[in-house]
Symmetry: C3
């Protein structure tokens, strides 16, 4: 099978890129190259291996790795054995963060900014600079900021305002009407008007097949830097703060307020009009029916207090 990421990258190039992040280097790295970043157990000769600072047996990992080059912190010693193995150790403060930096620079494919010919854009829409709009994207009477990436098959309705540096994955639907029905005396259902906006601030990233509805009479707002995973449902009038992590299949009902830095674990459900305080954590599969104070972790169905952040 086809191997992904078979690009060769010279160690010298990586060291130049890392610059001051490198504390020191042991071993001869001239003319060495890598074609892959290793995961914890699949390193080959030309992988770049790395040792998370949280591991216990770092010295053993370094000495038994198949890789020639490793990113480590200073708790790993450059032993005679490592020297005999001709291994190169690149010392940094936080190996995981540095590996992310290397991967993002050298191995993540750069999208060419372009608008695919099949994209359908409303004549009243405003599209920013340097955007990538993938095949079959549909954009209504809405505003798209600069440097935005929208993958194929995304649908954006009217009255959506998207900031800069936003990423939206395939199949996601933004700005559809919220689910607002009034039951009449004859049990018929009458729709309440859904005429607010959906505002998505800068640096937000949204996974695949998620749905974020427009507001009813006010706006739905997703705060700066917030990340939303696949298959999430965010209902009308919800206000989400900055740098919130919303993992897979989360359900946030109408008019909730989620403050900055909250973490919501997979498949949690939040009742409408709930307030979740700054930095709170909602556990996996929780069903939240009460307000959650800042810094607290709640879990279960129904969700209850579990612990408080120190």
């Amino acid at each position: 099978m086809k191997e992904v990421n078979m690009k060769k990258v010279k160690i010298e190039e990586i060291i130049r890129f890392l610059s001051e992040d490198v504390q020191r280097i042991e071993g001869k790295y001239e003319n060495l190259w890598i074609n892959k970043i290793a995961s914890y157990c699949n390193a080959k000769k030309n992988s770049l291996d790395w040792i998370n600072h949280t591991k216990n047996n770092k010295q053993i990992i370094a000495e038994s790795s198949n890789a020639k080059v490793l990113i480590v912190d200073d708790s790993v010693k450059y032993t005679e054995l490592l020297k005999d193995q001709n291994k190169v150790l690149i010392y940094v403060e936080n190996p995981r963060r540095i590996v992310a930096k290397i991967g993002n620079e050298f191995f993540v494919k750069k999208l060419e900014k372009s608008i695919h010919f099949s994209v359908i854009i409303d004549s009243k829409a405003t599209i920013g600079q340097d955007v990538y709009l993938g095949p079959n994207v549909i954009i209504g009477d809405s505003i798209i900021g600069d440097n935005v990436i929208i993958y194929g098959n995304v649908t954006i309705y009217d009255c959506v305002e998207i900031g800069n540096n936003v990423v939206i994955n395939s199949g996601t639907v933004l700005g559809a009407d919220g689910f607002g029905y009034e039951r009449e005396e004859n049990n018929g259902l009458v729709k309440f008007p859904q005429i607010g906006r959906l505002i998505i601030k800068d640096n937000v990233e949204i996974g695949a097949n998620s749905c974020i509805d427009r507001g009813a009479l006010e706006d739905t707002i997703i705060g700066e830097g917030t990340k939303i995973n696949n298959l999430c449902h965010i209902a009308h009038n919800v206000k989400i703060g900055k740098n919130v992590l919303i993992t897979g299949q989360i359900n946030i009902s109408g008019s909730c307020i989620i403050e900055d830095d909250v973490l919501i674990s997979p498949n949690a459900t939040i009742r409408d009009h709930i307030y979740i305080g700054k930095g709170a954590h909602i556990g996996m599969g929780s069903v939240v029916t009460k307000n959650v104070p800042a810094g607290e972790t709640w879990i279960g169905n129904p969700a209850k207090f579990y612990k408080k952040k120190k």
Copy 2:
């Protein structure tokens, strides 16, 4: 940022439209206009404000609103203060219902009935009058009624029959095969034929990215006036009655029967072959493993009886 809904609507026009819904009017409304309907705390001078009849402090809300014109019920008095503020009070029986009526008439964008050039329709399909089919809609060998709205990126397989006045939001998939596999003695999985229809009756509305499967040997049926929110999964052979409210991320497994007027709260899961009686309510995040009698509320995992409707 661009303001949505900046259309000006004259109060006189609204009063003419409401006609007999208006009980009486206080204040001079000639030449006044609005450009927005207020939500509970964001009223500006030219918003139409309104006071829900369930509120306690209606008089205070009326007197402190920034809006010139308010929709109220007769428990709000037209005080000297309101008069001095030159406020206009339009008296109706149910302000929330009247606001919905005004919003739907004046502020909800009317879709122009049309079939986008990118729509792909099977040559054996039947399409009704006055439909809106958005970009990239795919329709198999199926039947679409009159006055149906199907937003972009919806996929309709074969053997789907959709009534009149139905609305389907983007990303929804109708009529895919149900999940029917038999485990063989060697642990292999053989597919059971999925050859029934999916029948969607008049006035049904379906959210974004939901999935409703065709029947196996019988039909899947969604009853008249039923509303389904985003990211719901409705499996093969399910029969849903009239005016049922199915909120976000509901999972209804195969062959369930859901009677009229049921309410299913977000992220509930219903086991296959379950019967839910008329007017029952299934709580948020519930996991229903037993039949639920009419008029009862069940909650929890597993769901248990909670209360009975009076």
Copy 3:
């Protein structure tokens, strides 16, 4: 309304097709034909009816069926009454399996292998023989095997490898980036590189609107013969074995290992890095926070041991 499946099939043709699966036949079947396979209670004169071997009252079902022809096992007697009714009984070992075989052969529509003109394929992609690619399918720099069926509006990113005889339903998104973010000291979120592959082995079938992410530094793998239903989320680095049944709205977080023949019931949530042993069963709506040994059934939130397979 239009009737689906109105094709006429002669009983003689069915008997010829079944060949050695038929143990014996009672009654005169010459010139008889069917146009439908009956479900348990909707048989008409020209339906093919059948009696599941698990039923108690098989003789009564046979004698009261409206159908002329029934597939039965040898516990049903060909009584005088059945004879007087001119009914035809086709005896087989497992009626349900035989009905599946007949349905799949005569009533399931055969897709013509073809690539719709609207399909968008990356110039570096490899596409196998005899594939069906429906309207608006998007395929990145990926590999598609032989005899693969991909319904309309599916999105496949780069670095996805799909084996032979795979079926993917509409709206599904394969190979998007996993959800990997590191919280920095200033609470900002930095993305960890997502550069692994998504590998889908032969005979896998995937429902509508599901999402399976590519790996981060390793690969995400879906094993041979595994079936995945609608609206499932399978995160980066997950390894799923052979013939696993993943029902609707399942959430499998990053780096889980699911062994062969596991059954995961609807709307279950599996925490990241969890191991689920061969043949285990995870109950509906369960929230799995611990490893599950082979052959065990776990249920609840949080999931606990319920029983062990004999």
